[in-house]
Amino acid sequence: MADKRITIQTTRYDPDKDEKPRLQSYEIPFYDDSMVVLDALNYIKSNVDGSLSYRWSCRMGICGSCGMMVNGTPKLSCSAFLRDYWPRPIVVEPLNNFPVIRDLVIDMDDFMQKLKSIRPWIIRKQEIPLGAGAHYQTNEQIDDFRQFSECINCMLCYAACPVYGLNNEFLGPAAIALARRYNLDSRDQGLKQRLPVIADNEGVWECSFVGECSVVCPKGVDPAKAIQQTKLDTTMRFILPYGNRD
């Protein structure tokens, strides 16, 4: 086991020196079957090349920071086990569909602006004072949106979405799933504020249901489902009498 080694090919890009990203190969010891791609990158950074840049934080699939393309598939690098790829080399690249800042670090500004545009927080017409006590929800009311609230903003769904790759005006899977999460929340009254964004041409109607966003989602959020449900809801609001309810 101590002699087992694995080849990691990772994207390197220094904006001050390189014209475009390139792949660099590292052969590292594969000393533990529980090693993940993030461990391999940390080994390279600590022992081989300290200039390698990438994002990570929790190392347990919660923070959503370490999303990368692993052999062409968007994955959380903390959840991609080396044993699933060994003895073949592993190619680690920055997430598709985003500009690259350095090495494996992408520019996520576009996503952050889209996320903000759908107002991912509970909106009330009139705030309930804290002194009024808790705002209770039943288990059934929570079940309505629980799946969509699992999103960790890892952006794997954006990297898997060819629609976003071809037209980055598209609002995108995670933002729409989160908009749906709040629209389905019994405490929320912000549907009308979100509708102009989600029902826009570049909102749900830009999606042509490739479905890959739901395949790669590490939390089972199923953004494709959120998008198709939103399409149906916005259509029903348009055609049904009294459909334009709050």
């Binding site: 890009y13 904006p15 001050d16 475009k20 990203p21 062409g72 598709n96 569909n97 985003f98 500009p99 690259v100 800042i101 350095r102 520019d107 059934e140 079940d143 060819p162 790759g165 071809l166 980055n168 042509s208 249901f209 490739v210 479905g211 890959e212 395949v215 494709a224 489902k225 198709q228 449900q229 399409k231 149906l232």
Partner: protein, 134 residues
């Protein structure tokens, strides 16, 4: 952004979608195939509109197309249409969320009801066509 700020901003490498993106993943490929099957369906529907126009002169002057090529093309288009109907109706279980007595209706039941409605609609349309053709 000022010139100084632009100069200080890191130079990013922009993303460009490769032209062969749809060959890089089996599901992307199937998606593109699915999208392209509407082209022959649309062509067949245009053909049908022309046939309706041709039938303007009454049954005495109308001869329906019966060439082998047309029959083969029609069968292929029928298969494509059935494929689209199947995917669309299967999707209904995902997107339709209905509650009865405050309990969500299982998606399997919704899909089955959609397929049942599809079968009933097909029988009704077939009956009407055969009835008026007599």
């Amino acid at each position: 952004m000022t010139t100084e700020a632009q100069a200080a901003a890191p130079r990013e490498h922009p993303w460009r979608m490769p032209a062969n993106w749809w060959t890089r993943n089996r599901r992307y490929f199937l998606y593109v195939v699915r999208e392209f099957t509407v082209v022959p369906i649309a062509a067949w529907l245009l053909w049908m509109l022309l046939e309706i126009k041709r039938a303007d002169g009454g049954p005495a002057h109308y001869y329906p197309p019966s060439s082998t090529a047309f029959v083969v093309f029609s069968v292929i288009v029928l298969l494509f249409s059935l494929y689209h109907s199947f995917t669309f109706l299967s999707l209904a279980g995902v997107i339709i969320h209905v509650k009865v007595l405050d309990r969500p209706v299982p998606s399997r039941l919704i899909v089955l009801s959609q397929f049942a409605l599809w079968a009933v609609a097909s029988v009704v349309v077939g009956f009407v066509l055969i009835w008026f053709a007599r």
